[in-house]
């Protein structure tokens, strides 16, 4: 069983499992949206004293903090106990492309050591990339009112036009950076 679960999970298993997370959260009277946690955390850290956007009773959102706490533990369990060390089935073209950029662990590691390795993340260029990227993950998701879970899955599942526009935006920004910025950064 553990061996079975330790393989790479195919998309046709993972996608429906994510939909079950959506179902469970809707059915318990909540919503499936992970970026809301960033707002809740800002509020819990006291940002409500400066800006009304964070001035709400964040304890009502405790359930969502429990979900990301659980997701953190889930990440630990999966990395610790459900990993068989087999290479990731990336497209060989992707691997070759990334290796040409000097990312040599493409296909063998879960995250590129050149970006997230303990010896590399403090490099000013890499640090800038992580900080700048992280800032826009937080800023953009709140501006758009959701991220992949809130728009691409929950919003589109509920046939929301705004979510479709948001997902188009995800790809405008993502494709631009991936094709025109990353080749210079990596």
């Amino acid at each position: 069983m553990i061996d079975f679960l330790s393989q790479e999970w195919p998309w046709y298993i993972s996608g429906p499992l994510i939909a079950i997370v959506l179902l469970l959260l809707l059915w318990t009277g909540k919503t499936f949206g992970m970026s809301s946690n960033l707002r809740t955390l800002c509020s819990a850290l006291g940002a409500g004293r400066q800006h009304s956007f964070f001035d709400f009773d964040w304890k009502n959102q405790r359930w969502n903090l429990l979900v990301i706490l659980g997701a953190t533990v889930g990440g630990f369990l999966a990395a610790q106990y459900l990993t068989d060390g087999a290479p990731m089935s990336l497209n060989p073209k992707t691997i070759a492309q990334l290796q040409a950029f000097g990312i040599e662990d493409a296909g063998t590691a879960f995250l590129p050591d050149a970006l997230f390795g303990m010896e590399h993340w403090t490099d000013p260029k890499i640090l800038g990339m992580l900080v700048f990227g992280g800032f826009f993950v937080g800023f953009g998701t709140r501006y758009a009112g959701g991220c992949t879970s809130g728009h691409a899955i929950t919003g589109l599942s509920n046939l929301q036009r705004g979510s479709l526009i948001a997902v188009i935006g995800f790809f405008i920004g993502g494709l631009f950076v991936n094709h025109f910025i990353l080749p210079f950064l990596l």
């Binding site: 790479e8 999970w9 998309w11 046709y12 996608g15 429906p16 939909a19 959506l22 959260l25 809707l26 059915w27 009277g29 992970m34 960033l38 707002r39 800002c42 800006h51 956007f53 429990l66 979900v67 706490l69 997701a71 533990v73 990440g75 630990f76 999966a78 990731m88 497209n91 073209k93 992707t94 995250l111 997230f116 303990m118 993340w121 700048f132 990227g133 992280g134 800032f135 826009f136 993950v137 937080g138 800023f139 953009g140 998701t141 501006y143 758009a144 009112g145 959701g146 599942s157 509920n158 929301q160 036009r161 705004g162 948001a166 935006g169 995800f170 405008i172 920004g173 950076v177 950064l185």
Partner: protein
Amino acid sequence: MIRTIVFFGIGIFFGITLFKSEAASWFRIYEMFQFQSFHMYGIIGSALLFGMLFTFLLKRLNAKSLLDGKPLVIPDKDKSWKRYLYGGTLFGIGWALTGACPGPLFVLLGAGFIPVLVVIAAALIGTYAYGALRSKLPH
């Protein structure tokens, strides 16, 4: 207590799924934006297909909350388009750079990638900046 276990449990299930599906991997996001694999499109697409079915059924059957029996409210998004296009595009920039959206950030932290804390801290600052500038931005 029951609630704590339920939501914590849903989170664990979600975290394991994001890790094992590799949706939390920077490599998979890079590959997705290069259109070099169906993997990420398959995950999001099949989640969406089943999500539509589940959402439709919950609404159609007037399902009540499993926890307190109250009617379910599935909120609609605003009717505008600016916030979605502008906000979505900015998030896309961050997604392609860091290879992570808000859920996977926490999964990666749990998986032991400590430098992800930098991304989480920056995302909190970004969220705060939005809260501070909100009234000046087009929605």
